[in-house]
């Protein structure tokens, strides 16, 4: 449906996902070899000659095949696997780009942090990263346990209430990578998607600079759409930087027009889906916290959608 969706799980786009994919293939291969050996032994035990059957039932085979073989193979695998994936949990220097991602029911709050750990740019459901360098994600949860998973960039890591889990991701080339909540978190768990967009470093720097500027400056007058955004009640839950809209319950809408998706990675972002989402998001994503705005007229819905289209 979208670019990068559904994300392929064994197609790594960076070193962290790469080592996990390598380990997966090795495990598959080992499991296949063990499977063949066991099936061969089973065949001989059922249909082989008497002499072979009696040998298979002997103590030597059980000690060798049932104890020594697994102990050796699993130990080697454990050591190899831990060394292969050691860089996943290597200590954080503190000078990496840091982004705090908070799981909510059922969307993702995204905050880009500066060197001192302050949140400088707010966003939701979409993460922009530069290519070729590791990014540290601080994974938190606001309500229940979620799990952050962008298969092409890294493995899964749970977002646990009251804890801050650190995860590293890195993309080697520009691209769009889909993600998904990987821990059942309630009714709309399946509709909790995420998008990571990797840019060339120069382009990423420009994007961050533009957003920092946007956070400092008040936007141009949005006209009737902006008034409606505040009077209809949108502003109580959503924030648009520099305006009276400063609600924090729902996703930040300062850059909503630049997002590739609406409703946390589930709908394409165009005026039609925006109107559909505002008008009755409950029909699209049942029990999400946004009420259906059936009180708005066609003109008002269009005005709101046009206003939000200018938020970039």
């Amino acid at each position: 449906m979208f670019e990068g969706w559904p994300p392929p799980i064994l197609d790594p786009a960076g070193p962290y996902a790469g080592s996990i994919a390598t380990l997966s293939w090795i495990l598959f291969a080992m499991a296949a070899v063990v499977m063949i050996v066991v099936l061969g032994a089973l065949y001989l035990a059922l249909f082989g000659r008497r002499t072979i059957q009696s040998k298979l039932g002997g103590k030597t085979v059980i000690w060798l095949g049932g104890v020594a073989f697994p102990a050796v193979v699993l130990t080697i695998l454990l050591v190899y696997g831990l060394s292969l994936t050691r860089h996943l949990s290597s200590p954080v220097n503190g000078n990496e780009l840091r982004v705090r991602i908070t799981g909510e029911m059922w969307w993702w709050r995204v905050a880009y942090l500066d060197q001192r750990g302050r949140e400088v740019i707010q966003d939701a459901n979409e993460l922009h990263i530069p290519t070729g360098r590791p990014i540290v994600l601080e994974l938190e949860s606001a309500d229940v346990i979620h799990s952050f998973w962008v298969p092409r960039l890294s493995g899964k890591l749970d977002m646990i209430p009251g804890r801050r889990n650190l995860m590293r991701i890195q993309a080697d080339a520009p691209g769009i990578f889909g993600g998904q909540c990987a821990e059942f978190c309630g009714g709309a768990h399946a509709l909790m998607g995420f998008t990571v967009i990797a840019h060339e470093p120069a382009r990423f720097a420009r994007l961050i600079e533009a957003r920092r500027k946007r956070e400092r400056e008040a936007p141009a007058d949005g006209g009737t759409g902006a008034q409606l955004f505040e009077t209809a009640g949108c502003a109580a839950c959503h924030r648009i930087a520099g305006t009276g809209a400063n609600g924090l319950a729902g996703p930040d809408l300062t850059y909503v027009a630049t997002r590739r998706t609406l409703g946390a990675g589930i709908l394409p972002n165009n005026r039609g889906t925006m109107i559909g989402w505002i008008g009755n998001s409950q029909a699209i994503k049942l029990n999400n916290k946004m009420p259906p705005y059936t009180v708005l007229s066609a003109e008002q819905l269009t005005e709101l959608a046009v206003y939000l289209e200018s938020q970039k």
Binding site: M1, L262, I266, L267, P268, N270, R271, G272, T273, I275, G276, W277, G279, N280, A283, I284, K285, P292, S297, A298, E299, L301, T302, A305
Partner: protein, 301 residues
């Protein structure tokens, strides 16, 4: 104004040669029917070397049938159709008014062009209908000669009437040998015919793919406002449900339910109905036609 047209094309084929004869039938007065829809309604028989050969149809949009609605000129139904048929002993029957028939040379360079005699005199095509230049005049096209029939009953009635004409024509032209073949096939035809009623000709969408329409619906997210048959998720409730669209008389309660109007409405609703809460959707003209085809196809069930 609506004339029954029966034309006969006679030409001498040469042994071993299967020259194709492009036949341009320029339709203008078919109103709600597209040219390719008409092509499918033409019953034709051709005898090549004593055997009945089926009519080979190849439709191309030569020119749009421009139709103005609310000041907007719609892309329109394709109005010019081209039939390429194995043109030996061809007789055909058009249940529609057509403005003219043009015969063209066979395209193959090696082919000796057969003697073609469009029996326009016999059919009275050219005389009874306005000329091509007049036909393409938007002032005339603005008022369709034949009013679009709306409603399922009307369409069925028309189909029945068409079929009667076709049957009479066939019995007059088809040889007896074909009758036996038909009788042998009759039980099979009955079984096949019982499975599904023929699609409504009004909604025949030439060169539109319902499958691609479904993909486009999912890509742009029509479902965020509309509940559409065959689209499992999302099933939005902001706009109307779109099942049964083929049997509905009006689009959005105000526009005639025709394929070209629907495709234009999907593409840019506010242009046709200012103040509509449905916005212009990011789809191409082709995708809009595909979506319309999907909606009609699903809406029939």
């Amino acid at each position: 104004m609506l004339a029954e047209v029966s034309g006969r094309l006679a030409c001498e084929g040469r042994i071993g040669r299967t020259d194709s004869l492009p036949l341009f039938a320029v339709t203008g007065g078919a109103g709600d029917k597209s040219a390719c829809g008409i092509a499918n309604m033409i019953e034709g028989v051709s005898q090549v070397r004593g055997r009945g050969a089926s009519l080979e149809r190849q439709c191309g949009i030569m020119e749009g049938h421009r139709f103005a609605l609310a000041g907007i000129e719609l892309a329109g139904n394709p109005a010019h159709l081209r039939m390429v048929s194995t043109a030996v002993g061809k007789s055909f029957h058009l249940p529609f008014e057509i403005s003219r028939i043009e015969s063209r040379q066979a395209r193959r360079a090696s082919a000796v062009s057969p003697a073609v005699e469009p029996m326009a005199d016999e059919a009275g095509v050219v005389r009874s209908c306005p000329g091509a230049a007049e036909r393409d005049d938007p002032a005339i096209l603005g008022e369709p000669v034949k009013r679009p029939r709306l409603g399922h009953g009307a369409a069925t009635e028309q189909r029945r009437a068409d079929k009667k004409d076709v049957d009479a024509h066939r019995s007059a032209t088809v040889k007896r040998g074909r009758m036996f073949r038909f009788l042998a096939l009759a039980p099979l035809l009955l079984v096949v015919g019982a499975c599904k009623p023929p699609p409504d000709q009004r909604y025949f969408m030439p060169m539109a793919s319902a499958a691609q329409g479904k993909a486009a619906i999912e890509r742009v997210g029509c479902g965020s406002c509309h509940t559409i048959q065959g689209i499992y998720w999302p099933q939005g409730k902001v706009g109307p449900k779109l099942d049964g669209l083929a049997n509905r008389a009006l689009i959005a309660g105000r526009l005639p339910n025709r394929p070209d109007v629907l495709a234009s409405y999907i593409r840019n609703a506010p242009a046709l109905l200012p103040g509509s809460s449905m916005p212009a959707m990011p789809v191409s003209e082709t995708e809009a036609r595909d979506i319309a085809a999907y909606l009609y196809q699903e809406g029939e069930h």
